[in-house]
């Protein structure tokens, strides 16, 4: 049983509880032990960097340090923004001794130290790399036959480029969806930005960006959009009604976390996957999934 330092991040405690619940359930079903980093702090998403780069890296580093202290070697985050922050702070800690020195000087104030020894990954990477499609397939008891799912990668999971991954037309999300019996719909906007934090700071822009995504997904007859990030989920789901108001559209596309879909396919209880908390109800399509099994 492999151990992971689990960093849920703030939104999974509030806006994205569904993501948190389903993550824990599904990880459990796949035999991954996630132990939550004790007393972790907010990683700052995209809001620190405008203020102070060093502070941003340091606050991320605190979480890494806590994980390292617990003797962990793997760090996993379900939120793409948290993942991106953790990944790069961790990387720079190794690359840039100067930065590492500054950060550790600050961490000393709380008797912490960080070397950047962790392997930082996003939840979906862990599922694909450590569990693998085969093992995932074996867990599926209720394949989501005929369910048209639009895989939405978003930005931070892919960009900035971490290693050599395809930042334009990746396929791993599709593979995962096929593995649980769903039918991934091909649509060009899958890596296009949803507006992220602009939803607060530049509402008009963000809503327009969300609109374009919803349009593209709808145009390809997606029954549901699957996300890998709470930010994307909130923008696409919570603000769908506002998009409709703003542009006179009539979108009603359910948006779910990929872990929720996996959970359903694994035959786990929907309430334990946090399903039912959506603003755009996902129940009908799940009923459909039920029926079609």
């Amino acid at each position: 049983m492999r151990l992971y330092a689990y960093y849920p991040g703030c939104s999974l405690e509030s806006l994205a509880q569904g993501y948190n619940l389903s993550t824990i359930e599904v990880a459990g079903a796949l035999g991954l032990e996630l132990n939550e980093i004790k007393d972790w702090n907010c990683c700052g998403a995209t809001a620190y960097f405008p203020v102070d780069e060093l502070l941003a890296h340091t606050l991320v580093a605190r979480n890494l340090a806590l994980a390292e202290k617990d003797g962990m070697s793997d760090f996993v985050a379900p939120c793409s923004a948290c993942y991106k922050n953790a990944y790069f702070t961790n990387k720079y800690l190794r690359q840039d001794h100067d930065l590492a020195e500054h950060i550790n000087y600050a961490l000393e104030a709380d008797h912490l130290h960080v070397d950047g020894s962790l392997q930082v990954r996003h939840l979906i990477e862990v599922f694909l790399q450590d569990v693998g499609l085969e093992a995932i397939r074996r867990q599926v008891s209720r394949p989501l036959k005929g369910l048209k799912v639009a895989p939405y990668y978003g930005c931070q999971l892919l960009r900035p480029r971490k290693d050599h991954e395809d930042t334009e037309d990746p396929r791993f999300f599709e593979d995962l969806l096929s593995a649980i019996g769903a039918e991934p719909v091909p649509y060009a906007s899958k890596t296009r930005c949803c507006g992220g934090s602009l939803i607060v700071t530049n509402r008009k822009a963000a809503l327009d960006m969300v609109r374009i995504l919803l349009e593209d997904a709808a145009a390809h007859h997606a029954d549901v959009i699957a996300t890998v990030c709470p930010m994307c989920n909130v923008n696409l789901e919570v603000y769908q009604s506002q998009v409709n108001r703003e542009f006179g559209t009539e979108f009603s596309v359910p948006v779910m976390y990929f872990t929720q879909l996996m959970g359903v396919a694994f035959g786990l209880r929907q309430d334990r996957l946090g399903i039912g908390k959506e603003m755009v109800s996902g129940t009908p399509l799940l009923a459909f999934a039920e029926a079609s099994k």
């Binding site: 334009e168 037309d169 060009a188 906007s189 593209d216 145009a219």
Partner: protein, 669 residues
Amino acid sequence: MTEKIGVYVCHCGTNIAGTVDVKGVAEWAAARLKHRGVIVGREYKFMCSSLGQELIEKDIKELGLTRVVVAACSPHLHEKTFRTACERAGLNPYLCELISIREQVSWVHTDKSAATEKSKAVVAGGVERVIYNEPLEPLMVPIHADTLVVGGGIAGIQAALEIADAGYHVCLVEREPSIGGHMAQFDKTFPTLDCSACILTPKMVQVGTHPNITLMTWSEVEKVDGYVGSFTATVRRKARHVNTDSCTGCGICWEKCPKKVVDTVFEVGLGNRKAIYTPFAQAVPRYPVIDVENCTYFKNGKCKACQLFCPTEPNSIDFDQTDELVEVKAGNIILATGYDLFDATRIAQYGYGRLSNVFTSLEIERMCNAAGPTEGRVVLRDMKTAPTSVVIVHCVGSRDENYNKYCSGICCMQSLKFAHLIMERTGAEVHNCYIDIRTPFKDYEEFYKRVLEEGGQFIRGKVAEITDVARSADEEGKLIVQVEDTLIGKQRRIPADMVILSAGLEPRHDAKEVGKMFGIACGASGWYTERHPKLDPVATMTEGIMIAGCVQGPKDIPASVAQGAAAAARVLGKIQQGEMALEPIKASINEDACSGCRICNGLCPFNAILFHEDKMVSEINAALCQGCGTCVAACPAGVISGTGFSDAQIMAQIEGLMLLNVGPEPVAA
């Protein structure tokens, strides 16, 4: 100290004297290095002038100098000058050292005294070193009169013809079934728009019929041994399954062959050929080849239609033919293996392979070609609808850190050519999206003007992405090209029926391995490295290996032809000499002391070190040795010596530079 050393310090006008106390250095050398054998120290305004040289010659004759040190400019400038001067005076040229106190002292330092002190150290270094110089004789090697040309594109064809016409024998090796290269695929050639085939075919025919040219198509060089003057190449002649002695190239076999195959090479997937085929009508040679992967007979033992219908006597189809290896002897080799087209699928956001009406430049060339799959009609992927709006994307895979940093050079003109042809043939509206339009050569800019006048539209901006996701009615069912019009600073979404990716040129996928085989290196971008980027673009660092055409870097047709001819001229010069002198800067092994550990064997990139199993010692082939000295440095027994750069010389130079053997201050009279 038996040596009699003369030290000559040059003023180079004020170039050196301006910063260095030249007189002081000369006197210092004469006085303080006397005990090292310096018997004369002179300074002169311009040592390289005839008077300066005579000064040295005179001293050699009258004072019987046995070593000469000249402190002046860089050896890359005047080493030869002074060495020849010594030679004229009867002193072996390699007993003269030119050391630089201009490029490396007076020009880079400002503090006069510091510069003077450094000059003294440099002179001392030269003196200590020259003591250990040995008289060397250049190595003469005979030049075999035959030439091997690898690659049958326009550059290789030109090179082969030049040499053959001059009366020397050439062996031309081509990987494909026919010569012609990329040029054979093109329709019109910029800027004159004359038909590619019309100007290329006659040259191809000449090659095919030339008495001095042995043509080996469907063949690849597998191994190269030897060195300048006497190379031996092993060529694999892949089985054609057609007997070229009896085959007349009548074409009945490929007419009758029932098996249609999508031609992914010559027709870049737009057209078909048969399982037995010649890539195109004007192919040279005319003999077809059987594509074993697709031939029905080779797959399930039945058919043999080609053999059945072959009219020749004896029958020319030979299913049992096998590859054969032939050895080719040559004095010189010209590499003209060309380029690969950038693989546009690598740029996912441009949608090539995903969006059906996105085409590559080569596909358009074939479409425009009257002999091509559409008889010259420019149409969409459905092979019938003509486009009404076309966008040409420049710099695809070029000038981009993510792909190739360099500019492919030809894409601008190629794109302008397409713009012209498409407007002419379809009347479609054509947009060019470019970063910079580069039309530097004869009549190129004029052609650009012409396309502008014909109504070609130009948007300065690199295309960000191509999508089929419409945002408005007029975008429905079209490809949308998203680009910033940087000149007006506005976003543009241009709806188009067809998008053409002007893909750049890349080094051949196997350039590195091939380079290794011929003993030449690739630069950072993968093109073969020429001996000098400006003054010697056809020779390589390996004597006897020339490069021509795109192997050296992206080029258009005129440039490739010119370089092909230049390489040929260089080779002819060598052949004419009959033999050539090699720099005697070589490594050699003292066989008596060699322990046969073979450490050096693996180090030599030129395979110049061979091991004698019988004597259990290694030996260096002087003609193959390029004199890098790596083996010298590596030999644990220290029995490999490098002439011109021996351990003794360098150790001595270090001591000199550190002023360890400077004599005492002479007591003033």
